[in-house]
Symmetry: C2
DNA sequence: CAGAATCCTTCAAGATACTG
DNA sequence: CAGTATCTTGAAGGATTCTG
């Protein structure tokens, strides 16, 4: 009913610098993480949670709704019992895969030069 | 002395996914913006404020300190009166210029396809 | 000019309980 | 399973004042 969907810490909705607009969409605390996880393929709600352990269920739901509203992801509800909901990247969401990869790699090369952990439970 | 400098909304300091580590550094509300502005060259505190109108003086100071602590920018104080402080990207900061450019361009191509504003007061 | 220090308000987000 | 609904609070962040 659009009663004011929390709107976390968006800077502005008025068109400004393209970078600001990008950050309005990607700037959410968990959004890049969510998008990156989904970049590997469709995931159910519960699976997504497991891949981002630190996020609460409430936050995850909220961020997913915002990403959906911004056209970054697609939410598919299967009318089953128990319910099943799958999330995947939209075409727009897919368009920033290279960006997410670059973010990932920057952290790799610039922040983890040494200290390569044996397990790669995330990736 | 690392007494706990506010530490805004970092996810974790323990090494996790490279993307998480990257977001710990870049994830601040204004940080990508600051870094992008500095990517064009050294700026004084006041100049930086003018280029990010929505940020308060307090927030700008805070974010700059964090970026400095993370080795992304260099803060140079000139012992003059009135004081002058200049900020510029460190070598590490420079290393993510392509990333910032890509963020900027994604917003341009994906969010501003039509509706190209005549003035480009930001850029 | 470039902040530091206070005070104060809002709100992001955790915890918990409930539901189709 | 995948949420919604409430309640509560820590802290993000604004406004203002003071200073080297």
């Amino acid at each position: 009913m659009e009663t004011g969907p929390v709107k976390p810490w968006h800077l502005d909705r008025v068109p400004t610098c393209p970078l600001v607009m990008t950050l309005n969409i990607l700037g959410g605390k968990w959004k890049p993480l969510i998008l990156h996880r989904l970049a590997s393929g469709t995931l159910r709600f519960g699976e997504l949670r497991k891949r981002i352990p630190a996020v609460s269920q409430k936050m995850l739901t909220q961020q997913l709704r915002e990403l959906e509203a911004d056209g970054m992801i697609v939410r598919t509800v299967f009318p089953e019992i128990p319910p099943r909901v799958e999330y995947s990247l939209s075409s727009r969401g897919l368009s920033l895969r290279p960006l997410l990869d670059q973010l990932y790699r920057w952290g790799q090369t610039e922040l983890m030069s040494e200290e390569a952990p044996a397990d790669k439970s995330w990736s």
